[in-house]
């Protein structure tokens, strides 16, 4: 690996197949947190339920691909109700606790050895993308030259990107229209002052539920594209880190901004990939840029997660509105 590849790798990932589904997850979170103020710490659960509905139904039970997609959306909706009904009447932290705990519990159920004949245990499920793949019109590698860098994607990856970013565009327009509507203004009202909205006769509980549901359904699409991107679903794809990658993307780009998740995704994936590649490059055996005693190849891939946590903290402390957000827009619970 050369130093140039560190940058090219960053460019490839900035809009690559992985970035696509994190962008979708962040758009869902934007509805939850950016516009309604809901703390969904389990976006990975919505992704996981949808992705596993798709992969298991197709590969275990031989169900038609499109029916499986619809079932996945249904599964995410049921999950939203299950998590929302007990918590949305309560203080914000109860939803946070139930979602973060729920995501881990669901992950353990889907990864359980005793259910591996249905969900594939820790290895998960593969062999469900045939229908999706059959729609792929691209047959050769796509490469784009940026200056002296050559950025390359395989045909299938490029197909995942084109379809995924199209869905991102559709949802971004939908969010823009929804938030401009009277319905969207009620959501923002709930975020700013729940009691004021309640005193105007609005059913706050129901609006929060709708918000959780819509954001969760967008999360379900994130799950589908996560399944497409790797052509597999495994419990490790939906760990807590997944949720907080999406949170960092949202907070980086700027919550309560329609284009925030997109900007956040591109910046976040460029830097996180370049960072990982940099440390992997710097710890290559025999190179001695960073001695092995301080960091080996396994540790190199952890650095980005340590940095991720720090970035999340610093963002929340010093710039809660992110790069493109509006401070007044997101004055959450400041007094």
């Amino acid at each position: 690996m050369t130093w140039g590849e560190v940058l090219t790798g960053g460019f490839e990932q900035a809009i690559g197949p992985t970035a696509v589904f994190f962008c979708l997850a962040a758009i869902g979170l934007n509805i939850h947190f950016g516009y309604t103020g809901l703390l969904n710490f389990g976006q990975a659960a919505f992704m996981m339920v949808a992705a596993y509905c798709l992969s298991s139904m197709v590969s275990t039970w031989d169900v038609n691909f499109w029916i499986a997609i619809v079932t996945g959306l249904g599964g995410a909706a049921v999950l939203a109700l299950l998590m929302g009904v007990p918590t949305l009447r309560l203080r914000a932290d109860y939803l946070a606790i139930v979602t973060i705990a729920g995501a881990e519990a669901i992950r353990q159920i889907l990864g359980a050895a005793s259910l591996s004949e249905y969900f594939g245990g820790q290895t998960g499920r593969t062999g469900f993308v045939a229908t999706y793949q059959s729609l792929n019109p691209f047959s050769s590698d796509i490469s784009i030259g940026i200056g002296s860098f050559d950025v390359n994607w395989r045909p299938y990856d490029f197909f995942v990107m084109v379809t995924g970013w199209s869905v991102v565009a559709i949802f971004s327009v939908a969010v823009f229209l929804l938030i401009r509507s009277p319905w969207g203004r009620v959501l923002k009202g709930i975020r700013e002052d729940e009691d004021a909205v309640r005193s105007l006769g609005k059913n706050v509980y129901s609006y929060k539920m709708q918000s959780l549901l819509i954001g969760g359904l967008i999360g379900a699409f994130a799950g589908f594209w996560s399944a497409f991107a790797s052509a597999s679903t495994a419990p490790s794809d939906f760990a807590t880190d997944t949720t907080f990658f999406a949170w960092t993307i949202l907070l980086l780009g700027g919550a309560a901004r329609v284009l925030g998740p997109i900007a956040g995704t591109i910046i976040f994936w460029f830097f996180i990939t370049a960072l990982e590649l940099f440390f992997i490059r710097a710890t290559l055996p025999g190179e001695n840029i960073i001695p092995t005693a301080i960091m080996d190849q396994n540790q190199a891939s952890l650095v980005r997660l340590i940095v991720l946590g720090v970035v999340l903290m610093l963002l929340m402390i010093y710039r809660p509105q992110g790069m493109f957000g509006d401070r007044r827009e997101l004055a959450l619970d400041e007094h």
Partner: protein
């Protein structure tokens, strides 16, 4: 008879077969254990399995095992299982109580739901492991040092991070996200330093249970339980009898009112962070002692801690202890009905039911939490 052998110190015996490979292929041999020669006090797991017959089909060594001692795979009758599970449930519950007190008290005094509390639990287990394995200190000393380090971590965390955030008026929601970021960083830092593998301490590894009446409990479980009870009693006494304890309860009840009646809220919060982190660290060490640990043990247990504090009532002291015992018992007893893989899911189910029926928790004060 083709030969006989006496087992060596490792319990192994070898009986060479006579002749070439061609001679013995296809033959059938019988291996009989002479049970008169077994050491005093030991017995075969299955008394009928004293002889084995097998056919030689390939050119390789054939292994014959005679298992000795109690049958570890035997199914106990269900009431014995229930008692055994209750014992481990109580031990788990006590550990949870120790670990969740800090979570609940930090919430009570500052309003922060600390999502990095699990990492403080891991910190105790890992720090003790560091002193135990790398430095080579005896485990009791290692545990003491780890608890002191945990207390220090609690102080540093409050003084260096949370107090400045409170001073600059950062909102509770922002602080929760900060705690998430801190948790992610710490968890991965632990993995960076300790690797992804599970660990155990070098001492007190015995698993032979003691039988006390109908109850069987391993010595280390018993020790962990007794230490937990002792610490919980001390904490209860401090909270009810001392001025500091009363001040803590006052701040947990209503910080503004406590401040206006002359209580130094910052000092109380600092004490809560120090003691809460030390207790979480101690909980982590005990958990590591009884079940082993890895870099993310605290994050896994955090779900159970949340279930405990919500069941008992967020911000309460007695509620946490009751809630922890119930969660510990429920989680362990569930093994009677469902596969152990699902016990965390069961804790979550419990949590959701509590939120539906009694959101303020068993001992929480009725108030509008919405």
């Amino acid at each position: 008879m083709v030969g006989e052998d006496r087992s060596n110190a490792q319990g192994r015996f070898d009986i060479p077969l006579p002749g070439t490979t061609i001679d013995v292929l296809g033959n059938s041999y019988r291996v009989v254990l002479d049970d008169e020669t077994l050491p005093k006090g030991s017995y075969l797991t299955d008394p009928d399995a004293i002889e084995r017959t097998f056919d030689i089909q390939t050119d390789q060594n054939y292994a014959v095992n005679f298992s000795i001692g109690p049958d570890i795979f035997a199914e106990d009758p269900w009431h014995e299982q229930m008692i055994d599970l209750a014992v481990s449930g109580i031990v788990l519950g006590l550990l949870l109580a120790l670990a969740s007190l800090g979570l609940s008290l930090v919430f009570g005094t500052t309003g922060l739901t600390n999502f990095s509390h699990g990492e403080l639990f891991s910190f105790g287990a890992l720090a003790a492991y560091f002193f135990d394995s790398t430095v080579g200190a005896p485990l009791i000393l290692a545990a003491l040092l780890a608890v002191i380090l945990s207390a220090l971590l609690g102080y540093v965390q409050d003084a260096g991070l949370w107090r400045p955030l409170r001073k600059r008026g950062t909102g509770i929601i922002a602080m929760m996200i900060v705690s998430i970021g801190l948790g992610i960083s710490l968890r991965n830092l632990y993995q960076y330093l300790m690797g992804p593998d599970p660990h155990n301490y070098s001492q007190y590894t015995a698993v032979d249970p003691w039988n006390i009446g109908p109850v069987s409990i391993t010595p280390k479980d018993l020790a962990a339980a007794l230490i937990c009870v002792a610490v919980l009693v001390i904490v209860s006494l401090v909270v009810t009898k001392t001025r500091l304890g009363k001040a803590t309860r006052a701040v947990a009840d209503n910080p503004a009112l406590a401040a206006s009646s002359g209580i130094n809220v910052d000092r109380v919060v600092s004490v809560v962070w120090i003691s809460g982190t030390a207790l979480a660290g101690l909980g982590g060490i005990m958990f590591g002692l009884t079940q082993g640990f890895d870099y993310q043990v605290g994050f896994k247990v955090l779900l159970l801690m949340f279930a405990s504090v919500i069941l008992g009532g967020l911000g309460t002291i007695w509620g946490v202890m009751v809630g922890s015992l119930i969660v510990g018992l429920a989680v362990e007893e569930s093994a009677l009905f469902v596969n152990a893989e699902f016990k965390y899911a069961l804790a979550l189910g419990l949590l959701i039911i509590v939120l539906l029926v009694r959101p303020q928790g068993l001992l929480g004060r009725r108030e509008r939490v919405g």
